[in-house]
């Protein structure tokens, strides 16, 4: 678990009554969640349960059907209002498959947004930032000439992370950061998530179903089940939970040992 002081009253991201449907499929029914400034919140839940959908609402890639999303005190989206320009530069996101720009090399991937948003920077300064970001993710500067197609899955995610922190965001969102990686590479990514929090002081939201990763990086864990957050707690609280559905998920049991249903469908 990371070692960072967090004020429980200082809320960075606030989700209230979030609802979202795709066609007839109701993915989010009523999501209420507070993410504190500087903490790493891990959202766990089954694949296809809507975890990434929550993340995409936080960064304004989706507009809710109901409820509000507030980031750093500014409401960015409701069903009738949608303005994410103010928060875009505060946020970075690591996509599940990295989502690197295939036509650009590693250095260009990291430098592209920087050049566009800071035209006042000289090319030398841009390259200095690229080197700094590559160092932060423990990659040597020579990596900048590699094309995304030449990188392994883990490397792609590290470069994508370097790109996400290029604009020095205050919030980092991670969509399944360890999916598809071997346990050792997964641990490298976990260490980087902790590093980002400790070195850059970012607020992190990690969506995953990898419990090893969740327990390692989280300050708090939220469990998504059938469109609702059914439990939020520290790593210890989640490990010692009495909620049968959370227990079932974190222990990876196929069958549940009780008939108690924690949420109404």
């Amino acid at each position: 678990m990371p070692n960072v002081k967090i004020d429980p009253n200082d809320i960075m991201i606030e989700l209230r009554g979030l609802k979202k449907s795709f066609g007839k499929q109701n993915v989010l029914l009523d999501i209420n969640l507070d993410i504190r400034r500087g903490e790493t919140m891990v959202i766990i839940g089954q694949s296809g349960g809507g975890k990434s959908v929550i993340l995409k609402h936080m960064i304004g890639l989706l507009q809710p059907d109901g409820g509000t999303v507030t980031v750093d005190g500014t409401t960015i989206s409701t069903p009738k209002f949608f303005d994410t320009r103010t928060i875009r530069k505060k946020m970075g996101m690591l996509f599940q498959m990295g989502a690197l720009f295939d036509s650009m090399d590693t250095g260009e991937n990291i430098a592209f947004a920087l050049r566009e948003h800071h035209p006042e920077l000289s090319e030398k300064e841009v390259q200095a930032v690229v080197t700094e970001k590559l160092k932060l993710i423990n990659l040597i500067p020579e990596f900048r000439t590699k094309m995304p197609s030449e990188l392994s899955g883990g490397m792609r995610k590290r470069v994508a992370l370097a790109r996400a922190i290029a604009l020095s965001p205050e919030i980092l969102l991670y969509d399944e950061p360890t999916t598809g990686l071997d346990p050792i590479t997964s641990d490298v990514i976990n260490d980087l998530i902790i590093d980002m929090q400790e070195k850059l002081g970012v607020t992190s939201v990690v969506v995953t179903h990898d419990m090893v990763s969740a327990f390692k990086v989280a300050d708090r864990i939220a469990m998504l089940y059938k469109g609702r957050i059914i439990e939020v707690g520290t790593v210890e609280e989640i490990k010692n939970t009495t909620n049968p559905f959370v227990k079932q998920f974190i222990t990876g049991q196929r069958k549940i040992s009780t008939e108690i249903h924690p949420v109404e469908d």
């Binding site: 890639l61 530069k89 498959m97 989502a99 690197l100 720009f101 295939d102 592209f112 566009e116 948003h117």
Partner: protein
């Protein structure tokens, strides 16, 4: 009763989807046009697209245009043999090629070659979340992805049409000299006879509109591509079919408009 209403429901659903699709195509065009002030800001991206759309299409156009010119000329000579003087073969070939064959043939070839590639590229970028990555980084995908492609299409389709016209006329000349016993002089004077600058100009205007059609439908089908190889495959097929149909429909209306 329900089974009777099912066709009505199905027809209504398809109609709504169709209208929504037209709306989306128009919105893509509007969003792209709104980024026109940034034309010269990232011009290197546009140059890359122009090479991909234009320069790399020349070899294919070379073959199709030369042979189309040859066929058109042979047919003109064959159909009017013994009816009109030889010089009118050049006249007929020139008129056909400049007004219709050049623009239509170029547009259809490009719809198949670069329109489908555009849909596949955008579809695969969407699936790999690259489009979202642009948005998340505060970069407008229309400015960095759509605008360079739009500019490449509206510049390169007319340019390639002019090249195609020239190649087709050369094809016609080759067949005249080698097979039809018509001299270069006769073919050349025939081409000049009844030549109207409007013929060439109308062909270029048409090519410009065809370029817009191929771009917007390619981008639309890319954005709406389904998941996986099947989805991208279907999107490429849809863009070829829809842009070919739209090119032929637009050609009719443009002909009516430009030659009234």
């Amino acid at each position: 009763m329900a089974f009777l209403l099912r066709p009505v429901y199905f027809a209504g659903k398809k109609a709504v989807e169709g209208i929504a699709g037209i709306g989306e195509v128009i919105m893509i065009l509007i969003y792209t046009l709104r980024t026109l002030p940034y034309t010269f800001k990232n011009f290197d991206l546009t140059i890359k697209q122009m090479i991909s759309v234009g320069v790399t299409s020349v070899p294919l156009l070379f073959v199709t245009s030369i042979f189309t010119g040859m066929v058109a000329t042979v047919q003109a000579e064959f159909q009017f043999r013994d009816l009109v003087a030889d010089k009118f073969v050049g006249t007929a070939a020139c008129k056909m090629i400049l007004i219709e064959l050049g623009p239509i043939l170029t547009a259809l070839v490009l719809a198949g070659r670069v329109g489908s590639a555009l849909a596949a590229e955008i579809g695969s970028m969407r699936e790999k979340e690259e489009l979202d990555a642009y948005t998340v980084l505060g970069l407008d995908p229309f400015r960095y992805l759509a605008l360079p492609r739009f500019l490449a299409f509206i510049v390169m389709v007319p340019s390639l049409t002019v090249i195609s016209n020239c190649l087709a006329l050369i094809g016609g000349w080759i067949v005249c000299v080698l097979a039809l016993d018509i001299t270069t002089y006769t073919y050349y004077t025939g081409m000049q006879y009844l030549f109207n600058f409007m013929d060439l100009f109308a062909g270029i205007i048409k090519a410009f509109v065809f370029g817009v059609i191929i771009f917007v439908l390619g981008y639309y089908h890319g954005l709406n591509a389904g998941a996986g190889a099947k989805g991208v495959g279907l999107a490429t097929m849809n863009v070829v079919v829809s842009s070919s149909v739209m090119i032929l429909i637009a050609d009719f209306f443009l002909a009516a408009l430009l030659f009234q």
